[in-house]
Structures are given as structure tokens and as C-alpha cells.
């Protein structure tokens, strides 16, 4: 009941922002509102996709009472590895095979970095904040070291890397990836034993231990998934920007955490939902788009976002 109310409230906030965006949207030459043009709406979805994907697994992490600060750095590692694998690929195999191998390689490495986070959190029992802060620094270092501190550019020719970029920067592919990931993670949280365990552990870890739940294993999986999705976001980033960039993804973890929190997930764990996080991500995306369409200074944009974050959480707090 309370849960449903909280969700209704963030939905209400989203509706309000969309209405406001429509209302103040500048008009195109034909008199239609630019905000409502299909191109603009899909742009919004594309723009939120990377943070959106990362915030799905971040929701799981936060539900267990943890936090993952390393996702931005893991994204950087993934984009670096993707670009390296593609630009150095031999010509033996088919393009499809090479691309698939490069993606699998980068995503696996990202998931492994996440698993390392999870293993330390679960077994050494250091606070997740500290563990992922450390790997945020360390993994960023790894990405820079591997790339010798340089961007790995992908051209526009007919080679494997260029082919990869032209396909994976398609709006449909990017938005589709987000939609698929969202569906999978929604099912995972709402319909599986794993999801139930995630919520139970965050709600009351002592009670979870007394109920014999596999706490360590669940945590390792949760952080692995967080790494994995940051890796997927990294692959998409590579295509979108035509380069592997070891400096990519700075402060992405904060945007992802903001989306989760605006979506009504409690930072102390146990309470929250994937649908809430999606709504939270949309709120941020529509807000950014609205402000940019109206040529609001990007610094002012940050200040407005700050207010929105606090407001969103205050409203949900007052509700419960």
C-alpha cells in the first residue's frame, strides 16, 4: 500500500514534469511543440539509456543496503577494452564474430570487476562505500594504464570497429538494450527467488542470516550484475562516441544513484523497485531535455536538478 503510494507519487512527479515540458516547449516553424516531436522524445530515451541501464543494477545494490561507486570507472574499462579489441582484431573471423567476441570480452571483464567488489563486500565485510570507492580509483587506473592514457579512436571506414559503431549507435539498438535490461531486471526483482533474497537482505540482514539465506552469494551476484551492466553501458558508449575513452563515465555513479533515489528506493535498503528507478531516470531525462530546449544554462540546470532530487526524496519520506 505504502509502496504503491510511493510509486504513484514519483509517477505523478513525472507526469507533472512532462506537462511542464510540453507547456514551456519552444515551437518549431510549423507551430508544433519541439518537445513532443518523435525525434525529440526518442532522443530523450537514448540520452537516458546509459545511466538507465546502470541504475537498474544499482537499484539491486542499494536494495541490499549497499552502494556501488565504481560503475563509472567500470564503464571506462569496458569502453577501453571494447575499442582495443575491435581496433586490434585480426581479419580472420567474420565481422559479426569479432564484434561478438569484443563485446563479450569487455562485458565479462566488467562483470569480473563487479564480482571482485562483491567478494570483498561479502567476505571481508568492509562497507560497500569504501570497497567501491577503492575500485572506482583502481579500475579507472587500470583503464588508463591499458590505454596508455589515450583515447582509442574508431574510424568511419569499413573495418570491424567502424561497422560495430555504426550499428550500436543506432537509437533503436540503444533504447532496445535499455528496454530489454529493464524488463529482465524487473522480472529478476519481482518474480525470482534471487530478487526476494535481495530485498530481504536489505530489509534486515540479521533476520536474513537467521532465515538461512545465502547472503554472501547474493551480494556477490548483485555487485557482479552492477559491473555487468556498467560494462554493457560501456559498449554502447564506445559506439556512440566512436572511441574507447579511459576518462569516460566520470560521475555516472552519482547520476545513477540519483535516479534510483528519486525513484523511491531507500538508501538504507530493503525498499524500492525497478519501475521506480525507471520513473526516476525518466524524470531526470525529461528535465534535462526541457531545460536544454529552453536554452537554460547548464550550470543552472545542475542547480535545478539538485532541488528536484531533494524534493523527490522529501515527498516520499513525508509519505511513509
Amino acid at each position: 500500500m505504502r509502496h504503491a503510494l510511493g510509486r504513484a507519487q514519483s509517477l505523478l512527479a513525472l507526469t507533472g514534469i512532462i506537462l511542464l515540458a510540453i507547456l514551456i516547449s519552444p515551437s518549431a516553424s510549423d507551430g508544433s511543440r519541439i518537445f513532443l516531436q518523435p525525434g525529440n522524445l526518442t532522443d530523450i530515451l537514448r540520452q537516458i539509456s546509459l545511466i538507465g541501464i546502470i541504475s537498474l543494477a544499482m537499484t539491486f545494490v542499494i536494495l541490499t543496503g549497499g552502494i556501488d561507486l565504481s560503475v563509472g570507472s567500470i564503464l571506462a574499462l569496458s569502453t577501453t577494452l571494447t575499442a582495443m579489441a575491435l581496433t586490434r582484431a585480426g581479419s580472420s573471423a567474420s565481422y559479426t564474430g569479432q564484434i561478438a567476441r569484443a563485446i563479450a570480452f569487455a562485458v565479462a571483464a566488467a562483470a569480473l570487476a563487479g564480482a571482485a567488489n562483491g567478494a570483498v563486500v561479502a567476505t571481508v565485510r568492509i562497507q560497500p562505500f569504501v570497497v567501491t570507492l577503492a575500485s572506482m580509483i583502481g579500475v579507472r587506473g587500470l583503464a588508463k594504464w591499458l590505454s596508455h592514457n589515450e583515447n582509442i579512436d574508431i574510424g568511419f571506414g569499413r573495418d570491424v570497429a567502424a561497422q560495430f559503431a555504426s550499428v550500436f549507435r543506432e537509437k533503436a539498438i540503444v533504447i532496445g538494450a535499455y528496454a530489454c535490461a529493464a524488463a529482465v531486471f524487473w522480472v529478476l526483482l519481482a518474480r525470482t527467488v534471487f530478487g526476494r533474497h535481495v530485498r530481504a537482505i536489505g530489509d534486515n540482514e540479521t533476520a536474513a542470516e537467521y532465515a538461512g539465506l545465502p547472503i554472501r552469494r547474493t551480494k556477490v551476484w548483485v555487485y557482479s550484475l552492477s559491473g555487468l551492466l556498467a560494462g554493457v553501458a560501456g559498449v554502447l558508449y564506445t559506439a556512440e562516441n566512436h572511441q574507447g575513452n579511459p576518462n569516460a563515465g566520470v560521475a555516472y555513479e552519482l547520476d545513477a544513484i540519483a535516479a534510483v533515489v528519486i525513484g523511491g528506493t531507500r538508501l538504507s535498503g530493503g525498499k524500492g523497485s525497478i519501475s521506480g528507478t525507471i520513473v526516476g531516470t525518466l524524470i531526470m531525462g525529461v528535465l534535462t531535455n526541457m531545460l536544454r530546449l529552453n536554452n537554460v544554462d547548464s550550470n543552472v540546470e545542475m542547480m535545478i536538478k539538485a532541488v528536484i532530487i531533494v524534493l523527490a526524496v522529501a515527498v516520499q519520506r513525508a509519505d511513509s
Partner: protein, 505 residues
């Protein structure tokens, strides 16, 4: 004239009465014991006088004048200090800071002035015999010295009345001796002391009078010089209590012992010393003891929460070394913890989610939950338990204490362990729910399970159990057959009175 006069003190915690119209009076310069069984309300009464718990209603007079004690600050102004059992010190602050923080008698200047702090603290530290630097961290002191610090703090607040809540529960003998000396000294200076305890020997050594509480009511106030420990025990347990839950049909398991299900042999953990016993199929084995006697720790050892230092556990004849609750659970041992909110339930989750949590492995296919099976099985269990809730989707937080406890029991009914350790399952729940829980215990025993039942209520143990283990200080003090056991005998063993333990080990 009495320095403190409290009457008509009533306090409920979530619908359960902790104090009912209790009264208490204190003379200047006396040491007055507040005594009663676990849950009798003695700590609550002390906390109400010290302003840390607000009563539902109470009339309190200090020096004959009505006093409104709404906060610890109010109590401090009236000259009342309290030493909590769990010692409310800031372990990461220094000795001096602990004494001046929140102290209305120390004028804060806004700057930390160690010299002024030392000048202020020293006389009180000397009084309790605590030497050493005031700049030491409180956390670096031994428990005994922390307690002296807490007393010095109370003195520095000009306390004329000092309440001590089970002060010797974590002290060794010599430290307790020193505390008694200090109490006598304080008394000589006219300080009145309220001594909350259930240790009979201490009370008879240092107290002048004792007020006995039972079920939240004041039963009597007696002069220690004119009474005996046995008389006080009788007042504590109450003669008429046997009628409350008449020991219905004496448990059949005692006359017809089943197979040995669980055998514990010379078990040692950090809290238990050389505990041995056997649990048979179909037996309800009671575990009695005061708080801190090791009764919860026995469950912790069996359930893989405490490391076993030595000794052996055999379950169904094969050795078992429970490494974790998960391991114990898979071996067939269940535990319903003492504190259902902290250790049992997920308060943000629904009745259904809480109830099926441990049994999910058999309610899924390929990791996907089988919602229909979950609902069916929990609905069946909740019927068996007479669980009352608006719907199975209702948040467990909206249920009454008794129904919350039933959700926890449902979790274990669905898992169906051979041995179930129930740690004070009826604490703070209403009479109807208690009866339901007794019925379930009987049913489980009849189905051949082995039940261990910890309880603070002796009539409950006498009603439900075939045999009763009595623990004291981590050791097995006695084992009674329910037929020959009486509340007096059990209390005497639990309080480690002279009467020889029978059949121990």
C-alpha cells in the same frame, strides 16, 4: 519523610502492560532493592523514575513535592541519576568528556578546556576510586571501571538518588565487591540507592529493603532484616500462579521416551560451560534461566551462530558441527529468535514474503517463484496457526505482536525442521496468541519433532514441557522432570541458591 514516592505508575508497550498501577517509595540514605522475574517491570520502573521512559500515567513526588519527570534532564535537576545495565557511555570520548557532556552542573564555555574539565571531574572520580588521566578514552576502561565512571558522572550531577540497573551483571567477583563497598560509602553520605537485581545473595548483603514486582504490579515491600530469600522468591513467582495455565495433560513423552534426536555433550562456547543434555523425538524440553544465564546462547550454539569451542552435538545419531544458520537449517535445526523485530522479520515485506522466506528453494522452478504454491502453502500454515491478518499481502509491520510471532512460526512450519528451538516465543504477546502457540508446540511434539522452549514465564514451562533445563551463568544448574518441578525450585536453581542441584549433567 520519603525522598521519593511513586504511585499509580502504568506503562504499556504496544498494548502489552509493563507496569500496572505500580508503586514504590524510597527513604533517604537507604539501599532499596527492586526485584522481580524477567519482565516483571523493574527496569521499566527505574527508567520511568530516571526520565528515560515516559509512563502512560504516574504520580511521582520528590521530597514530598509532586514532580514532573519528562526527560533525563528533569531527573538530573531533581537529583536523580541512573546507571544503566548496558552503561550508556560514549566509548570514543574521554573520561572527562563523558562526565561533563549533558551535565547541567558543568558550565560550558564553548571551548574544550581540559584543565577546567579535570578540576571539575577529579573530586568525583576520587570518590569512586577511579584514578588515572581524565583524557583517556572511556572505551579503553574495563567494564568495572566504566561502571565506576558512570557512578562518578551521576555524583557529579549532584544525584541524591542513584538507580542501578543490574549493576553486577557483567562484573567479576572482586569488582562486584568494590562496588558494594562504594554503595555502602554512598549510603553513609546520605545518598539513596535503588538496586535493580534478581541476585538474591547480593540483595541480602547490601540492601535495607526490597520491593517485589510481579507482572507489572507491586506485590510487597519488605525489610531485608525480617525476611528470607525463600520468602522473596515466593513473592516473586506468586503462589496462585499455577492456575494460570494449568499443566494440562502431563506430557506423554516423559513416560514414553522416543529415539534420542539431539544429544549435546559437554558443550563449551564463549558463553556456555560444559552443557550436556539429550532431546528425544516428541519431547518438549524447557530451558529456564535468568537473562544472561546462557539460555539464548544455547540456541545460538545449536543454530551455528556461536562458535563451538569443545564438546559434541549429535543430531539423529550423526555428529553435527553447525557452521552457520544456513548449515544448521539444512541439517534440520530451526530457531525462532528472541527478538522478532531485530532478528526475525523483514518489516518492509509482506506476511507472505516473510512466511515463505526460508522455504523458497522448494517453491520455485529455475529460480522463478511459484506464486500459487507460495500462497497455498502459507495459507495452510496460517490456518494451522490461527494467524489473523487483513491479507497475506499486508505488510508484516501492521500486525500485532502475537500475529507477527505466528508469521515467524509459519516460516519454520513450512520448513519442518526436526529440532525447533523457540527462544521466548510468547514474550510480549496477548493471551489468545499464547494459547495458539502452546497448541502448536503440542502438535509439533505429537508429530515427533523435538522442541526446545526458552521462557521467562515458569508456569509456561511447567505447562508445555516434559523436562526443564535450568541454566545459570552459562552452566547447567539443574534438570527437572516437569512433574516434580515447582516454580520455587526452578527459581532457586536459576538464582544459584544453596539448594543442591538435582540430576544436573
Amino acid at each position: 519523610m520519603n525522598i521519593l514516592e511513586a504511585s499509580a505508575v502504568t506503562k504499556h508497550f504496544g498494548g502489552v502492560a509493563a507496569l500496572r498501577n505500580a508503586s514504590f517509595s524510597l527513604r533517604p540514605g537507604e539501599v532499596h532493592a527492586l526485584i522481580g522475574e524477567n519482565g516483571a517491570g523493574k527496569s521499566t520502573l527505574a527508567k520511568i523514575i530516571a526520565g528515560s521512559v515516559r509512563p502512560d500515567s504516574a504520580s511521582i513526588a520528590i521530597d514530598g513535592r509532586p514532580a514532573a519527570i519528562r526527560s533525563p534532564q528533569d531527573a538530573q535537576r531533581l537529583g536523580i541519576g541512573i546507571i544503566y545495565q548496558e552503561l550508556d557511555l560514549f566509548r570514543h570520548l574521554t573520561v572527562g568528556e563523558n562526565m561533563v557532556i549533558g551535565n547541567l552542573h558543568f558550565r560550558e564555555s564553548g571551548w574544550v578546556d581540559f584543565r577546567r574539565m579535570e578540576t571539575f571531574c577529579r573530586p568525583f572520580l576520587d570518590q569512586v576510586g577511579l584514578s588515572g588521566n581524565v583524557r583517556r578514552l572511556a572505551g579503553s576502561l574495563s567494564i568495572a571501571r566504566m561502571q565506576l565512571l558512570a557512578i562518578a558522572r551521576a555524583l557529579s550531577m549532584n544525584a541524591r538518588i542513584i538507580l542501578m540497573d543490574e549493576p553486577t551483571s557483567s562484573l567479576f567477583d572482586d569488582a562486584a565487591e568494590r562496588l558494594f563497598g562504594l554503595i555502602r560509602e554512598l549510603k553513609g553520605r546520605g545518598v539513596s540507592i535503588v538496586y535493580v537485581s534478581h541476585k538474591m545473595d547480593e540483595i541480602f548483603r547490601i540492601c535495607d529493603r526490597a520491593t517485589v514486582l510481579r507482572d507489572g504490579e507491586t506485590i510487597a515491600t519488605v525489610e531485608i532484616g525480617a525476611t528470607t530469600p525463600d520468602e522473596i522468591i515466593c513473592l516473586m513467582v506468586g503462589r496462585n500462579l499455577t492456575g494460570r495455565g494449568a499443566p494440562s495433560a502431563a506430557y506423554p513423552g516423559t513416560s514414553d521416551p522416543g529415539d534420542p534426536l539431539l544429544a549435546v555433550d559437554h558443550l563449551h562456547t564463549s558463553k556456555l560451560k560444559d552443557v550436556s543434555f539429550q532431546l528425544r523425538r516428541g519431547e518438549v524440553l524447557g530451558v529456564a534461566g535468568l537473562v544472561g544465564s546462557g539460555r539464548s546462547e544455547l540456541g545460538a550454539a545449536l543454530f551455528g551462530l556461536d562458535r563451538i569451542r569443545s564438546g559434541a552435538i549429535r543430531l539423529r545419531g550423526s555428529p553435527l558441527q553447525p557452521a552457520s544458520p544456513r548449515h544448521a537449517m539444512r541439517s534440520g535445526i530451526g530457531l525462532v529468535p528472541e527478538d522478532r523485530r531485530l532478528e526475525g522479520l523483514m518489516m518492509n515485506m509482506s506476511v507472505l514474503e516473510n512466511g515463505t522466506l526460508a522455504a523458497l528453494p522448494r517453491m520455485q522452478s529455475l529460480g522463478f517463484l511459484r506464486a500459487g504454491q507460495e500462497r497455498r502453502e502459507l495459507a495452510a500454515a496460517s490456518r494451522q496457526l490461527a494467524l489473523e491478518c487483513a491479507s497475506l499481502q499486508a505488510p508484516v509491520a501492521t500486525l500485532s505482536g502475537g500475529n507477527q510471532q505466528k508469521v515467524l512460526l509459519a516460516r519454520w512450519l513450512l520448513l519442518d525442521p526436526d529440532v525447533l528451538f523457540l527462544d521466548d516465543p510468547t514474550r510480549g504477546i496477548d493471551v489468545g496468541a499464547k494459547q495458539d502457540i502452546y497448541r502448536i508446540i503440542d502438535e509439533l511434539a505429537r508429530a515427533g519433532k523435538g522442541i526446545m522452549l526458552v521462557s521467562s514465564e515458569l508456569p509456561e514451562l511447567l505447562r508445555c514441557c516434559g523436562r526443564i533445563l535450568v541454566l545459570c551463568g552459562g552452566s547447567l544448574a539443574a534438570v527437572y522432570d516437569a512433574k516434580e518441578a515447582t516454580q520455587e525450585k526452578i527459581m532457586a536453581s536459576a538464582a544459584n541458591l544453596a539448594s543442591a542441584p538435582e540430576g544436573a549433567g
